[in-house]
Symmetry: C3
Subunit: 183 residues, 3 copies
């Protein structure tokens, strides 16, 4: 059976399409953007022109998204994350902006929001592969590329190509495989 | 307080249940399926009989799902992914079908959709554990099983049992732990 | 353009706020809780007082959440997961409660729900970082802390600080880097 259901968008005067299921709380959206179904954009967020926020993304308070940014589904963007122009994010992006939560240093009495913040920054033209994770306070330099499943805990220099944890593992494995014969 | 809220499904003439919040865009759904809340199924997708698409799954354009397939919540299925009959997917499945995005080879000016596609194929009877990730163009052979958190970048032969990156890590760790005494 | 859309909550007589998009199926919710947008809470779940269930979380059947628990977005909590008071979960939490599915031991004919269950337990005051994954049947001891991207397959003693797979990898890498000179 061919089925069509629940596909309505609202169109703003700025040629921006916002799906009716999206939750937007006092945020600013530029021209010619697409806000997909089931998106949550919290207060004080700002999305600049020509950007696409894919389904199920949640932008916490104060996230700033530049022009021509595309974000694939299921990302979580922590408070005050800064994304410059021309960035791309694959699906299932995740991050944190609170070192105590992220690194488990606060003992048995968990803190409530708001956190102490160590915001994350993406400079112009970064490409972030599927299922990448970024630790609090990290800056990803201009034009950098992170492969699928990278887990980045330190700043990344401009125009880097990171394979994160996984590439290091792969390198180790190759080393280990040849070691027995060497010894 | 006991609460019940917003649990309505539409029932088609084919005994298929589709939750009212699901977004379906010109797709074909078989008999006796369940389409859970907050699902997105894009145009040209085809779901065959007796399959269950769990909550928050997004099936991009042209995804094909066989009979008796179960997909747990929060998966992302890239364009033209082919899933044969009797497959199971644990929660948080993710993948990509664009090598340039996935492997970060396109420089500082991110491409927009549509991507160059390297679709992913799951042959009959695959079992995919929680939080697995599949790289572009990969085929998972018939009856194969991927453990939790596997990250698969190459084709998998039929009836394989993969533990992906993590098992290799575990193996390495065991090796390292015994090495000091050996040397 | 400044935008506000679709932000309505229902307020219960217990000072609990439940977003109108949330799906709740015969579950029990305590006082002064927040149930965020796009949450799914299945039958026989019980949420105790002062807890926050963030957006896109799915609590499968019979999940029990204590007092003062905060769960960040996009988590999946398997059937009968038990979360004691004062726990915190970062975004993208995932788990499984079925060893056969999780570890791929059931051959080519995937089982349907209900699974054989090996529920997961979080004792009081656990802090679970971003993107952690827990295997079936595991207990995380009181006051334990899991760092970002931890993958935990065995019970964790009370007041542990785990870095899971990733820390072991980091340790290995440091070892490997110094080994050539040693040998």
């Amino acid at each position: 059976m061919l089925i069509k259901q629940n596909t309505d968008y609202n169109l703003t005067s700025d040629d921006t399409k916002i799906h009716k299921s999206a939750i937007l709380v006092d945020c600013e959206i530029g021209k010619n953007c697409i806000i997909a179904p089931f998106v949550i954009i919290n207060m004080s967020c700002k999305i600049d022109d020509n950007s696409i926020i894919g389904p199920y993304n949640v932008l916490e308070r104060g996230v700033s998204v530049g022009k021509n940014v595309t974000i694939a589904p299921h990302g979580v963007f922590a408070i005050d994350t800064m994304i410059a122009d021309n960035c791309f994010f694959g699906p299932h992006f995740s991050c944190a902006n609170d070192k105590e939560i992220s690194y488990g240093e606060h003992g048995t009495s968990p803190k409530k929001l708001p956190y102490i913040e160590y915001p994350i920054t993406f400079e112009r033209g970064c490409t972030i592969g599927t299922r990448c994770t970024i630790a609090p306070g990290v800056t990803i330099g201009q034009g950098s590329r992170l492969d699928m499943c990278s887990f980045i805990t330190k700043n990344v220099k401009p125009f880097s190509h990171m394979r994160g944890t996984n590439e290091l593992v792969a390198k180790l494995i190759r080393t280990m495989e040849t070691r027995p014969d060497e010894i």
